[in-house]
Symmetry: C2
Amino acid sequence: MSNKIYFTPGPAQLFYTFEEHLKKALFLDIPSISHRSSTFIGVVEETTAALKELLEIPNGYNIYFLNSANEAWDRIIQNLVDQNSHHFVNGSFSQKFYDFALSYNKTSTITKVEDGAAFTNWGIPEEAELIGITKNETSVGHSFLEEEIASLRKKNPDKLIALDIVSATPSLPIDLSQVDTAYFSVQKAFGLPPGLGVWIANEKCQEVALKRANNTSIGSYRALPNLKKFGDKNQTPETPNMLFIYLLGKIAQDILQAGVQRMRNDTTYKAAILNQAIENHQLLDHFVASKDHRSKTTIVAKTNDPEKFIQFFEKRDIILGTGYGPHKKNHIRFANFPTHSKESVEMVCDLLEKIE
Amino acid sequence: MSNKIYFTPGPAQLFYTFEEHLKKALFLDIPSISHRSSTFIGVVEETTAALKELLEIPNGYNIYFLNSANEAWDRIIQNLVDQNSHHFVNGSFSQKFYDFALSYNKTSTITKVEDGAAFTNWGIPEEAELIGITKNETSVGHSFLEEEIASLRKKNPDKLIALDIVSATPSLPIDLSQVDTAYFSVQKAFGLPPGLGVWIANEKCQEVALKRANNTSIGSYRALPNLKKFGDKNQTPETPNMLFIYLLGKIAQDILQAGVQRMRNDTTYKAAILNQAIENHQLLDHFVASKDHRSKTTIVAKTNDPEKFIQFFEKRDIILGTGYGPHKKNHIRFANFPTHSKESVEMVCDLLEKIE
């Protein structure tokens, strides 16, 4: 790796133990061994076990390997939505999930507020089969509250809830028992290169997919019952991204070993000092108005001159995130992931003070 | 990497320059930079250009990045097949493509012969919209001849032809102008870890996908028109497997630099000595009866005692391929990919002689 530190919210800074595990993986020939070998079955088992512990995945929920969060949207619609899904949208990624549903000719519906705004209307159309929520809207730094998710669950016990936990997990505690399915890509808070996605789904999802399969196609190799058939044996239907599955397991183990609570305390501390630095800065302001809904893992500041900040930091080998999509010209984003040390975030805060 | 040499037909031995390029990729922060950055757009451009030259991809054919050949089957059916596809099946992988079509509730048809047998009946049902052919049936070592593909093309000018070039490309010369779409995964002859697939499709495929999109869903982010929209800008719809796209380009460049013709001559030489060794061996015989249809890249021998061979070689840190699926107990397979040196194959032949 170069001397740069990436505070971009994904692709992001690689996890600090990444290279060490990569070397070991090559030494073990992980990319060359058979994906049906007992060695690789052991890798899938180990990675699955580490994720189950780290993410506190409830019993009856299974883990499947995809290639991106985009694919999770795609497969969720294919497998779990017959006619309607309902989406809470306040940024580009929650919007995309809704767009994917439309591309599958679903008559999906949407509760849309301004980018980064908190939701106030919690009504869901009766015909919605699945509710799409984004725990951390990476594009604008809005965080869905745990009590908001629990309340949706309580009011809609018969609907599936799909939770996007990209760039939220494993940094934030998330009660997965309040949702039926969740998904993330590994190039955010896990500090891996992009190319692997993780899809968590409970038995209710399996039932819905199986039932739908009687009347329609739910896809091929990544139909949920097929994923489960192989997953139950710690296998995958196809030759998967074996190297990244191995590395994900190792990084999950490292985070567990170092202490999940400590990592989460650090996340809170780093978010607090970044937020303070934004508040103290005359050229910066919070983008998300509601303090409670500000993301701890993707801190978004608005400014009239993002380039000033980005270039100042880039000269010092620190790469900040630009604003996403329509916000490119008036936002900067700071990722706050487990690999970012407290010292490096303190340095960012100190440097911010020097920009006038 | 360990001291082992993998002659398994995928996942396979990593390309001999893999580690060098991997180190460079990490130094350049390829896994951390933005997938929308000019640097990564340059990577996609470079990889695409190298593949176009190496595979002699005709004008009007575009390259898109998927995650596996399994995904190519999935996306081809989603995008290009309305009701019927027809599949030439003489092994497990050609069978799987047909099975994928059925899982999408297509009324697809099949010309099935015994595993590894050559085809003699070339009739195609009139209603077939797409013909599925497997250039190299990796499971049993059968190779489709270039003249067979050309003849199918001539007799079926209005149907799409989809060619599976997994474990065939870039080792074998393939006239892609005789087909409309082709696909491969990188963990075979390119010597990369699994997790990336390449999908080549011509303008006729785009037209079919666009036309179908008026009446039905052709998928979401990996609908062909969406892949083209991003591909035309050397981008991908989602955050892709950036690291492997970079590495694929570098390995393609290395093969070009070392000389494609030389690599193909070497492939022919290595296949010839392996075939000779099989013929000379009293415990081995060719599985594919038709000499012309024997794969040069996946040499398959039948034997009553595959474990004897596999264990003998494993003791010497050489990993042979087992038989695939139903042939596990009476086949061994030898991959013959660009990374396998003539010397290493000569060594395998010499060692074969020692087994009695």
